[in-house]
Amino acid sequence: MTELTHLTMADAIKGLAEKQFTAVELTEAHIRAVEKARPLNAFITETPDKALEMAKASDARRAKGEAGPMDGLPIAVKDLFCTRDVLTTAASHILDGFKPPYESTVTSNLWRDGAVMLGKVNLDEFAMGSANITSYYGDVVNPWSPGEPGNWPRKLVPGGSSGGSAAAVAARVALGATGTDTGGSIRQPAAFTGIVGIKPTYGRCSRWGIVAFASSLDQAGPMTRTVRDSAIMLRSMCGFDPKDSTSVDLPVPDFEKALTGDIRGLRVGIPKEYRVDGMPAEIEQMWQKGVEWLKAAGAVPVEISLPHTKYALPAYYIVAPAEASSNLARYDGVRFGLRVPGGNLKEMYENTRGEGFGKEVRRRILIGTYVLSAGYYDAYYLQAQKVRTRIKQDFDLAFQECDVILTPTAPSGAFAIGEKMDDPIQMYLNDVFTVPVNLAGLPGMSLPAGLGADGLPLGLQLIGKPFDEETLFRVGGVIEEAAQFTATPPFMA
């Protein structure tokens, strides 16, 4: 498409400041991109009128010299964030027609800083998934899928749950997108689509107004094409919110300032337990390359041990569904969204929830209900929480030996829609490198390291100490510089 959609956020900020183009022009280019990219099915709701309105207001602010840090930048919003008066679905049938009368804190922060909303993007239903194939609104296609755009012989998944966000950013439809990450839902799709995604420390971003999946694990974060862009966007998204009791009252650093490129003497932990059986050789090679890049920049690799890593995935798939089973009880047809009538209250509940929820959501609600039930609570939920404490302790100990941890983001590149469908556990294994980070509440970033043998992007993950996103940005900047990932997807708007 036009060059305006191929800019980075940082370049767009510069271009707007230097009056090379207006916010309206920038937004119009992106609105055309949204239309052109419809075959990807990345958007659930397009909001071009609203976007233009916001762009006009942005230009007016700029004219008065009152432009904010993200003023005029067109972004996409994962349809898990409540946006005032704009359809918010969580990619579920059960939220049919739901237009929130309130705005989530994170998106409020972005609008406060001047960003422009292109629309609400697709995701796995209620954020439950690693491939964006469980959405009521259909699958999202990875723009890296080979073949004729719109006529793909083999559609690849963009990863999940923030598949729409990842696809939109990778295909140059939006300068950035909000995502949420509960077990890897920002990082893994970022890896599958060759973009940058960061899940900050638990408590950095407010969860108020985000449709809850697993309360103790959910975190919002940016998805962008460069590390600097993520630094810019995360700064706007973060901040203490008294309406969220789990929100942390710490000042928000200017993350861009961390991009010094200087990592001399930094100790990079390489966890031996992340070398899993059957891991494709190219993933191992990419990981090694990452270590070399960091060494070349003066960092010191250190082998560390995170002994409880192998229990992280089972613990996650007990804790997350348990919390979800309770969080999703409010979707009952009584006050908003879909209602399927019944002869009595129980029937109405069963009809509504049976029809309104997709298969994966129902599966996880059942798992969650089971692990919390009388007679099983101690063996499953309580035990999983104890394992969780052990996993956190692993990281605490490891961070005495190192300052940041480097791992692959996912055990493979993007796979095809329809693969890994025989056994849900196969799908869950996508999250094996990412879930420990959520369980421990740590910040984690994925960035593109290179292409695999099949020409698909592979991502490296950086894991940081609590509230040390700055180190992630600093090291991420170095990897980005070394990797020189200039490859672009076959499909771009």
């Binding site: 009791s245 789990t246 309770s326 409010r330 919390l372």
Partner: protein, 483 residues
């Protein structure tokens, strides 16, 4: 010990009460919506209370303070670390599908409460725990033939659930428990105890056993909303259980309702339908950590509670236990009494307050707060008796007028010319007149008919429209009749 007389012998009733008390706070336990009673339906509901997507709870500090205050008033252990848990179940008036409550680690632990029985005796019973939880909304089933209306005004209001040990042994004790608890909560200002409005509700756990045997299976009677019904429901349920057991049956542990029209308990749900609440700590909230100094500060500012006040009334004012009980069960009554008693004869004050004033208030259906007679004015009336301005008898007349009009006693005495006649000369003159006019009766009296003394007194009072000082009349009459 009260026993139920069964066909196979005596049965002991074992009762434990769970009282749900709405906390006096301006906003709800986890949201800022208002808590006023009687508002238009769904006019006091925040998105948090209605469990809209993405909404999160934030603790109301004042509610926590009120719970701690209540715990301290029950001489209970305050747990500096407590946890909020989700109690999960589906019902239309529970929007989130779970109630935020406290399960394993409540904010208040063991305490105690003293029962004041009607016969003047006292017995201490145990409190097991107190925890904070959300109230649910209201389901209204009778507004539509096939639909239920849901009013969420009450959804999220702070409740204190106060659980007693199974120490109560009769319906009377249960009633005394509820009365005393209500009194303490009102003294503390943490709950208004208004059972008709539903701000205080009682779940009654009842079981029966032969004396000396272990506890029997209990049934829970939910949401009993008056003390009268608490007694009736317990009596009915205990009798029902005895009947079942004596017929050879066994008691199923179940939840029952008190039917206020048929005056019976009915089964609400069977064991199979019993909820598994799947309690787990609420991940949207941090554990509640209280600073010891904060708790101490609340302790320092506690008002004098009923038991202490009763002891002081008995000790300082030399009141009987019975009178003290009557006066302290409502702080407003106790305060009224002390205003009247200040610098005056306490026993006389107690008598006037508990007999004359409370009698008049009861008859008129008024509460102490609505008394037309102020404490100052009642005190003034006692002063007029003490300085002989009026007699005790006239005072009752004046009191009646005060109750009607709210006027000051001195004004009424002046207006109606009720001043006591204490002028000995005038009384003598009156008595001389009466004796002269009733010479025959004087003669009869002197020859032994002592009862006629009363006749002369009566005549003297009649002649003075009751205003003659009775003591003086007596004294002067005695002298004159002797001589």
């Amino acid at each position: 010990m009260t026993y139920i007389q069964g066909e196979t012998g005596d049965w002991e009733v074992v009762i434990g009460l769970e009282v749900h008390a709405q906390v006096i706070t301006k906003s709800k336990l986890f949201s800022g919506a208002a808590t006023d009673f009687g508002a238009a339906p769904n006019s006091q509901v925040s998105f948090v209370d209605a469990a809209f997507p993405g909404m999160l709870p934030v603790i109301n500090e004042h509610a926590v303070e009120q719970a701690v205050r209540t715990g301290l008033g029950l001489k209970a252990q305050i747990n500096l670390h407590s946890v909020f848990d989700r109690k999960n179940y589906f019902y239309a008036d529970l929007p989130s599908g779970y109630q935020i409550s406290q399960y394993l680690q409540p904010i208040v632990g063991k305490g105690e409460l003293v029962l004041d029985m009607p016969d003047g005796s006292s017995r201490t019973v145990g409190i097991t725990r107190l925890h904070l939880e959300q109230d649910a909304g209201k389901s209204i089933h009778d507004q539509h033939p096939s639909k239920t209306y849901i009013d969420l005004n009450r959804s999220g209001v702070a409740l204190m659930e106060i659980v007693s040990e199974p120490d109560l042994r009769s319906a009377e004790e249960a009633a005394a428990y509820v009365r005393k608890l209500r009194s303490i909560l009102r003294y503390l200002g943490t709950c208004d105890g208004n059972m008709e409005e539903g701000s205080m509700r009682c779940d009654c756990n009842v079981s029966v056993r032969k004396p000396g045997q272990p506890f029997g299976t209990r049934c829970e009677i939910k949401n009993v909303n008056s003390i009268r019904f608490v007694m009736a429901a317990i009596e009915y349920e205990a009798a029902r259980q005895v009947e079942v057991l004596e017929a050879g049956g066994k008691i199923d542990q179940e939840t029952r309702l008190w039917d206020t029209t048929k005056l019976v308990t009915r089964s609400m749900r069977s064991k199979e339908e019993a909820h598994d609440y799947r309690y787990f700590p609420d991940p949207d909230l941090l554990p509640l950590e209280l600073e010891p100094e904060w708790v101490e500060e609340i302790k320092r500012t506690l008002p004098e509670l009923p038991d202490e006040k009763k002891a002081r009334f008995i000790g300082d004012y030399k009141l009987s236990a019975y009178d003290a009980n009557v006066l302290v069960n409502e702080k407003a009554k106790a305060d009224y009494f002390e205003t009247v008693a200040k610098g005056r004869d306490a026993k006389q004050a107690a008598n006037w307050v508990t007999v004359e004033l409370f009698g008049a208030l009861n008859k008129a259906g008024l509460e102490i707060e609505q008394s037309p007679v102020s404490a100052e004015n009642l005190g003034g009336l006692l002063d007029l008796i003490a300085d002989n301005t009026i007699s005790g008898r006239i005072a009752k007349e004046v009191f009646a007028e005060m109750f009607e009009t709210g006027e000051k006693p001195a004004d009424i005495v002046e207006k109606k010319g009720l001043r006591q006649v204490t002028d000995t000369g005038a009384i003598e003159a009156t008595i001389d007149q009466i004796l002269a006019a009733n010479a025959d009766k004087v003669a009869e009296y002197k020859s032994g008919k002592d009862k006629l003394f009363g006749f002369f007194v009566g005549q003297a009072m009649k002649a003075t429209q009751g205003k003659a000082n009775p003591a003086m009349v007596n004294e002067i009459l005695q002298k004159k009749l002797q001589g």
